[in-house]
């Protein structure tokens, strides 16, 4: 399957052509190049997926296929970085997700970004992102993954900071990059630890569940945990940074400063699930050798899901709501992985997590694109500027509703199936976990419909509110152009049907196909909870009324804390600005200037002082010279005579 190399090479080529060749193309040409290439690789990856799932099944198990391998950098005889393409069920699945969503976003952006300065740059970055993300999921070894991991980080940085003249965008980009890079530091250390003990980077060896490979790593302990646990925990921190797990989630809401299609692609569907993918990729190691870390992942995931779901309930910026909902949903995926066992029915958590990743990518990008469409129409991110838009934008309304139903977990939309599996896996892990996750599912339904009603229902849209209409025309919101709405419709269609895919036939923890059975108790409970959430939201927000404000008043402290995202950002700001910048960097700079340099200058000035002092001897007074000369002569003579 050598041709899969093209899937990687084409976006890179597109990036090189659009970004590095110093030519100014018309926006249309640039957009067409980018979109066409994405279209081509989408088709290629569908073809590759079809080929893989039909031809590479040996004895009922999907094989790992190395389609391409190239030794890029050799460290020593054992450790070397290869660049290659690894095809296995999850990478193929990710490939489909990435190319599809990317293609949709490219298509959508043709309309959304129309007239923006730097259209060509935008498409170049999108191509770069597609390249790096595909490289990440197809990595044959953990170091290749790290390489592309960094590359997606930088693409994300560039795309968040796309409106580079806007300080908020620059700050958000910077924050995103630094936070994820901070997490990547742990990832790197984890890789170093893991590779030191296992003498390999290769996923093929690492995920073979061969105990010999990890013999040394498991036998050595540090502070009560085996080295392998440390390594895997550190690697997870890397993943948590990318996937915005608490407490490294702070960059994601700010990242919404980027263009909305970018948020859809990177910060909802693909890049943020890289952490989930990482855990899934190393799942055999986690589940067999370090189950305690895996349980930790489950708890982190659950807490994050709950935490961000609560915050999402009170945010007023529609993209922020979606951002927190993304964090929450990734928490779900992490829980899915964390509660999973290995193989067969035990491994249903793994399967469901991947399934949720798959469905979430579509419905969340649909939500974002829908939100983008709304923002495009009203030129504002704030809920207070919206309301009653269903009349003006029917396509957006319907697709948004579909996506909301999907995320809320209402059958037969895709979200129901995947979420339900996660819930049942959680129940089998522990009832408490299942209960919490079900509660969060209800919360999800509530805040999604709060969002939905606030945008499309509620108070009637008043064009006067949007005074800062920077196009200066078109006061009435209108349906988006064809390129945008076609993407919405396509994704809406996928959202409707994706749940019906027999996912277990393709992706399971051990590669052996497995039939999904819907646990009726769990399913009915979750549907009921979701409906309750929706009903409450309908009651509160469908029509403009006083109840939400009263509620906010009643829970004043909690409401405030939640809308300030529980002051996590402030804590970070404090620790970076106050502690690191003021109490480390500033003293170091001072220390360097005054103590170290002062010492050096002190040496210099003391030399000068001595020089000034002994300059007196060079008085030009001949008699003084003669005197010293005489004394010296006498002294030398005395020494010669009396001592020798």
């Amino acid at each position: 399957m050598q041709y899969t190399l093209l899937i990687l090479a084409l976006p890179l080529l597109s990036f090189a052509v659009l970004g590095l060749v110093d030519a100014k193309w018309k926006p249309k040409v640039a957009g067409t190049i980018g979109t066409t290439i994405l279209g081509i690789i989408t088709i290629l990856s569908y073809f590759a997926a079809w080929q893989y799932f039909t031809q590479y099944k040996v004895d009922g198990v999907y094989q790992k296929v190395i389609a391409f391998d190239y030794e890029w950098l050799r460290f020593n005889d054992l450790l070397h970085i290869n660049l290659g393409i690894l095809l296995d069920p999850i990478s193929v699945m990710m490939m489909i997700v990435i190319t599809t969503v990317s293609f949709m976003v490219n298509l959508y952006s043709l309309g959304y970004m129309k007239g923006e300065k730097g259209f060509q740059r935008y498409y170049a970055f999108l191509s770069l992102f597609a390249f790096s993300m595909l490289g990440l999921v197809m990595a044959t070894n953990i170091f290749q993954m790290y390489i592309f991991w960094e590359l997606v980080g930088v693409s994300s940085y560039l795309l968040i900071g796309f409106y580079y003249t806007r300080p908020a965008a620059v700050a958000a980009a910077k924050k995103a990059f630094i936070v994820t890079r901070f997490a990547d530091l742990f990832f790197l250390i984890g890789i170093l630890l893991l590779s030191y003990f296992t003498k390999t980077f290769d996923f093929g060896i690492l995920t073979s569940s061969n105990a010999n490979v990890f013999a040394e790593a498991t036998s050595k302990t540090f502070m009560g945990f085996s080295m392998l646990s440390w390594a895997m925990a550190l690697i997870f921190i890397g993943g948590a940074g990318k996937s915005a797990m608490f407490p490294l989630h702070i960059w994601l809401p700010d990242a919404m400063e980027g263009p909305t299609p970018v948020s859809a692609l990177i910060h909802a569907a693909t890049m943020v699930v890289a952490g989930v993918f990482l855990v899934a990729r190393l799942f055999p190691v986690y589940v067999v050798f370090t189950p305690e870390v895996l349980h930790g992942i489950a708890y982190v995931g659950a807490f994050t899901a709950l935490f961000s779901a609560i915050i999402a309930c009170v945010q007023t910026d529609i993209k922020r709501v979606l951002a927190f909902s993304t964090i929450s949903q990734i928490g779900f995926m992490m829980v899915g992985l964390g509660v999973s066992g290995y193989g067969g029915h035990e491994g249903v958590g793994y399967m469901s997590s991947m399934f949720h990743l798959f469905t979430h990518a579509f419905f969340k990008s649909l939500l974002f694109l829908g939100a983008g469409s709304v923002i495009h129409a009203v030129h504002s991110n704030e809920m207070k500027d919206m309301g009653g838009l269903r009349k003006y934008m029917p396509i957006t309304n319907w697709t948004f509703l579909i996506a909301c139903l999907a995320i809320a977990g209402i059958p037969p939309f895709s979200g129901f199936f995947s979420k339900d599996e996660i819930l049942s896996a959680s129940y089998s892990f522990s009832p408490a976990m299942g209960g919490i996750m079900t509660f969060i599912a209800g919360l999800t339904a509530f805040y999604m419909f709060r969002l939905y009603y606030n945008i499309f229902w509620g108070k009637e849209f008043k064009p006067a509110t949007q005074s800062e209409n920077y196009h200066g025309h078109g006061n009435t919101p209108h349906e988006s152009p064809f390129s945008m709405s076609s993407a919405l419709v396509f994704l809406g269609a996928v959202t409707c049907v994706a749940g019906l895919i027999p996912f277990g036939h393709f992706i399971t923890s051990d590669g052996v196909p497995y039939d999904i059975h819907i646990n009726l108790t769990v399913a009915s409970v979750s549907i009921i909870v979701a409906l309750v959430g929706i009903i409450i939201a309908t009651y509160l927000y469908r029509k403009e009324n006083e109840i939400p404000e009263k509620l906010a008043k009643t829970f004043d402290g909690f409401y405030k804390a939640a809308s300030h995202r529980f002051y996590i950002d402030e804590v970070y700001l404090f620790s970076t600005k106050k502690i690191i910048f003021n109490n480390i960097a500033r003293p170091i700079a001072w220390f360097d200037r005054h103590v170290i340099d002062g010492t050096m200058n002190g040496i210099a000035s003391s030399t000068q002082w001595v020089a000034v002092k002994i300059k007196g001897f060079q008085s030009g007074q001949i008699q003084q010279y003669a005197y010293v000369f005489l004394l010296g002569t006498l002294l030398v003579a005395a020494l010669v005579i009396f001592l020798i």
Partner: protein, 493 residues
Amino acid sequence: MNFLSLYILILVLMMMGLFLSKSRKQIQIIMITGASFLLLLSGALTYLYLTERAAGNTAEMLFRADSVWYTPFNIHYSVGVDGISVAMLMLSSIIVFTGVLVSWKIDPMPKEFFLWFCLLAIGVFGFFISIDLFTMFMYYEVALIPMYLLIGVWGTGKKEYSAMKLTLMLMGGSALLLVGILGIYFTTGGSTMNILELSKLKVPLEMQRYFFPLTFMGFGVLGALFPFHTWSPDGHSSAPTAVSMLHAGVLMKLGGYGCFRVAMFLMPEAAHEMAWIFLILTGISVVYGAFGAIHQTDLKYINAYSSVSHCGLVLFALLMMNQTATTGAILQMVSHGLITALFFALIGMIYGRTHTRDIRLMGGLMKVIPFLGVSYVIAGMASLGLPGLSGFVAEMTVFVGSFQYADTFHRILTIGACASIVITTVYILRVVGKVIFGPMQDKHHETLTDAVMYERIPVIVLTAAIFGIGMFPGWISSMIGDSVLPLISQFIR
């Protein structure tokens, strides 16, 4: 006379040509021709070296030549290269070439400037080709002296102070070094100054304990070893662009190269014994330099502190004393040389336009000077270790190599060094966010013009080299790694 001496010869010819030249045009022609020849020569050398190695020549040094220079002290003019020197020569010629273009319009006294510049280059090239201790030391001194004038005359800011400080500190270092070198010479019986032969003789351990720290610190001063790094921020910020480039890009590498080639190679036992002291110092350099950079407001200061951090990483990796780490150190030298040269070139160009280097007074330059802006972002990304650019390759090799030590002491230091990449990210993004992105700070900046041809070439050359190493690190890494092996076996035995 073998062809390595051409490096010196071409530069001497350039200097002669400069003496005779009359107009700026002639000077430019002479300089660019000579620099191109140097670049070609380095290319040819790399090619010849690789073919020779591929043909199975396993001598430690290739292209040897030797002639007696001063018999009483057995001083020879002997030259030879291995993979490390080839890499360094390549780096030097790229930077000399770009340095010439960057100072294309240097004012005043272009002739004198380039004369000193050539002399500096002679020192640099001579240092890398010679394998005789004394010749090496002589070239080292030759490289230091022009620095004083170049900074003192053509610099900016408090240039006299900086020039004096830099020269005095480096001279102080070279005084230590001289003692070390003479120590090595006499304790081995005073029979040879040739490094290869010296390595076969043994400096008594007792003596190594004295001379290793002297030699290491002597070179370490140039390699910005904490706490002898303070010349670097002042020196770099005052120096004219091309000199900053050459200094940070190449001259600081002399330090690392010397530490490895002379101090550690000739006195391995003491190196083993004392590595921990210097590891702590370099570890401090790495983190401390990065933190120091966070707080600065002058672009050149930021870069100078970042150089302290990155050059600290070079020495740090060398002291880890295994093949991977050492290869990483050499790669880091090359990579940092290119990146920092690019940085200084860009800062020089930006300064030439905005007449300020204070990041608080600039902003949104991407809009008016997109070429420089994009290049600055690329340089920043390379510096913070983005994959696909040279910094990543070098740093990862260093970290993987350093991590091969299993004890807690080395682990902690390595993790500390790894942490520096996050701090690097912080200060790089701070600058990029402030200067290149963001809203315009100064109305006057709206009329700035983007880079012209002679400014674009060096930027493109450097960027291409950074990308080249970053994308295809295999050959250079294996070239260096193979050459490191015989040297490193000295420690392992």
